[in-house]
């Protein structure tokens, strides 16, 4: 009798342990690692999403961006944003509408599907050799200048966290699959292993 009671409490004990382990509120590995503070997360999280999530405060126009471009970008990207073949730097502006023609002119303006890529990459990787030196205002102003040179926005249109994500890029639907939720599944994406039609 005693033996059975003991056994039953052991089973109940094990069940309780199991239930607490699968509880999503706790890790099966306990407290390994350190919980980052909201400030630590904000400091490291530099991802800018296509809907503008992650864009920080700040603003700029093409008119403000032009002198910054001519000081910090022109030596590699060229006076007309045409790029430099010898540096392997591609075009930033021009060629809008040529992607379906026989003479495609591939630039950020004519080719890229979303505008946030420009802001994100400029902040994390430009200017080459002085990466991370641009202020948020400068990144907004340079983005505005590059869009203006492709006739996508006007010279005095203010780019900030609200207005930038509203810019629709001309080639947004030039990518397959166009619907982002079709990407994860290889069948929906229309690919066999390695090759997609």
């Amino acid at each position: 009798m005693h033996y059975l009671l003991f056994n039953r409490s052991l089973v109940l004990g094990l069940l309780t342990l199991l239930l607490t382990t699968v509880d999503a509120q706790e890790s099966p590995f306990g407290d390994i690692g350190h919980t980052p503070s909201p400030a630590e997360i904000e400091n490291l999280d530099i991802s800018i999403m296509p809907d503008g999530e992650g864009l920080p405060p700040g603003q700029g126009t093409a008119r403000q961006g032009e002198p910054i471009y001519n000081t910090k970008c022109v030596m590699c990207h060229g006076p007309n944003l045409e790029g430099r073949r010898d540096y392997r730097v591609g075009r930033l502006a021009g060629g809008v509408g040529t992607m379906k023609s026989d003479k495609r002119v591939k630039s950020f303006g004519s080719y890229n599907p979303v505008v946030t890529t420009l802001w994100d990459y400029t902040r994390r990787a430009m200017p080459k050799f002085e990466e991370g030196s641009l202020s948020n205002d400068e990144v907004y102003a340079l983005s505005a200048y590059i869009l203006y040179k492709s006739d996508i926005i006007g010279q005095d249109e203010v780019m900030n966290a609200e207005t930038l994500p509203l810019v629709v890029m001309p080639n947004r639907h030039g990518f397959i699959p166009s619907a982002l939720d079709e990407i994860p599944d290889i069948e929906a994406r229309g690919c066999r292993s390695g090759r997609c039609r």
Partner: protein
């Protein structure tokens, strides 16, 4: 330092005394046995500390198109891809020292592993910062997997891209297929880390980010985190090399190389992809109608004969073992066929050793060469039933007409090219790249 020097001086003195003692005396017979050829006086300590290969073994990585690009502003070596010399390797594991490198133009940073942290955050219940020691406490796995750049063996025709020398008769297998390597990787499955942080149901993607200049970042579908993606700290039994992401990298088995983020510092779970530069500006495939394929992920099944291969010379007619590697980004290799007559007939090759999923698999076929001009080629099949295609099949599927003329006219080539690789053996035994000329 001083004790070492004095003990050395003592040794010199003692040997001088022994030598003078020995002068005029006859030596014992066994002292006259000649030293074996190439026997060094004494190897430097480095040979014992870490190990250095024989001075007669000289295989090395080379840059794309046989050169290193130079950065015009600094005159420094810049990577267009440093390639694995498959023609000089054996088995299925690439030595860490010869694993291919692509760093998007940046040098590998030297990261202090004690200071390094991996932050996991976004759509999770419990965001966390993990040190290397924290990761060592978690359940580890060791798995053999290849990594392949989406540009490996590509046919693009553009001079600085892998497509230029790749199409020329003088290309070696290092030029054509050197942007793929295979290792045993050790680390923690991302699915294990998901249990630790408690991922939310809304998470459909994760973004992995490196700690190098430019913070390379890449969006990857959630299912890969639940399947076989790993956070890796060791390669072939030792900590990662700096060029491979020391102290931490992401491994996404079978996915194109750009997803395997090195110097991993952050993983963010999200409900959408970021559409970052290397998901849009680069790593897309141009199609003839002016549309672009993005997010191609899985590398297709591919095989290549590594011996005999481009620029080798057969010593003469007679017996030669044909050997090579095969792999698939979606599973295990189930069959490799070899043709020794330019594709007229095919024979099943022998598969050597254990077959791992998404890993190099070594094959061989005995061959009696009668001295005639011929073309050797191999064709792999994976456990999803996919068969490595011919160039003609790829052309038909993608609406291209890949050939020297087509590329010289400036038409698009294709990335993710996994077409059959032909090697021409000439009458004098010389082997050359026969892409487009079979």
């Amino acid at each position: 330092m001083s004790s070492k020097r004095s003990s050395r001086r003592r040794f010199i003195k003692t040997s001088a005394a022994l030598a003078s003692l020995g002068a005029g005396m006859s030596l014992p017979v066994n002292a006259q046995i000649p030293r074996p050829p190439g026997y060094p006086p004494r190897r430097p300590d480095e040979h014992y500390d870490y190990g250095i290969r024989s001075p007669f073994v000289t295989s090395k990585r080379i840059g794309t198109n046989g050169q290193r690009g130079t950065d015009p502003r600094e005159g420094r070596p810049r990577d267009y891809g440093f390639r694995t010399p498959h023609h000089e390797l054996f088995g299925t594991i690439t030595p860490s020292s010869l694993h291919f490198i692509i760093n998007h133009g940046y040098d590998a940073p030297n990261i202090d592993p004690v200071e390094h942290r991996l932050m996991i955050h976004g759509l999770v219940e419990r965001p966390v910062m993990l040190s290397l020691d924290d990761l060592y406490r978690l359940p580890a796995v060791s798995r053999v997997h290849f990594i392949e750049c989406s540009g490996n063996s590509n046919v693009t025709g553009r001079r600085f891209y892998p497509g230029w020398l790749r199409t020329q008769p003088e290309a070696t297998v290092q030029d054509t297929h050197g942007l793929a390597s295979c290792s045993e990787w050790t680390g923690v499955l991302l699915s294990t880390l998901l249990e630790h942080v408690g991922v939310k149901k809304e998470a459909k993607w994760f973004i992995a980010e490196g700690a190098e200049t430019g913070f390379h970042s890449k969006s990857i579908p959630m299912w890969k985190a639940l399947d076989d993606a790993m956070v890796v700290y060791a390669q072939n039994g030792e900590p990662l090399r700096p060029e491979q992401g020391f102290p931490l990298r992401l491994l996404t088995p079978g996915f194109e190389g750009v997803n395997n983020v090195k110097w991993l510092r952050r993983i963010k779970f999200t409900d959408q992809p970021q559409l970052s530069k290397r998901e849009t500006s680069n790593y897309t495939s141009e199609r003839a109608d002016g549309t672009f394929r993005w997010f191609e992920f899985e590398n297709g099944t591919k095989s290549v004969i590594t011996r005999p291969s481009g620029q080798m010379k057969l010593s003469g007619p007679g017996y030669h073992d044909i050997t090579g590697i095969a792999y698939s980004g979606r599973g295990a290799i189930t069959r490799v066929e070899v043709s020794t007559n330019g594709g007229r007939t095919w024979q099943d090759a022998e598969i050597q050793g254990t077959i791992h999923s998404k890993a190099f698999t070594r094959f061989r076929l005995p061959w009696l060469w009668k001295g005639e001009e011929t073309v050797l080629m191999s064709r792999s099949t994976d456990d999803k039933g996919d068969v490595q295609p011919s160039v003609a099949e790829i052309n038909q599927e993608l609406g291209l007409n890949l050939s020297h003329e087509w590329l010289e006219a400036g038409n698009p080539g294709t990335s993710h090219f996994n077409g059959i690789q032909p090697w021409r053996v000439k009458r004098n035994g010389e082997v050359e790249n026969a892409l487009f000329t079979v």
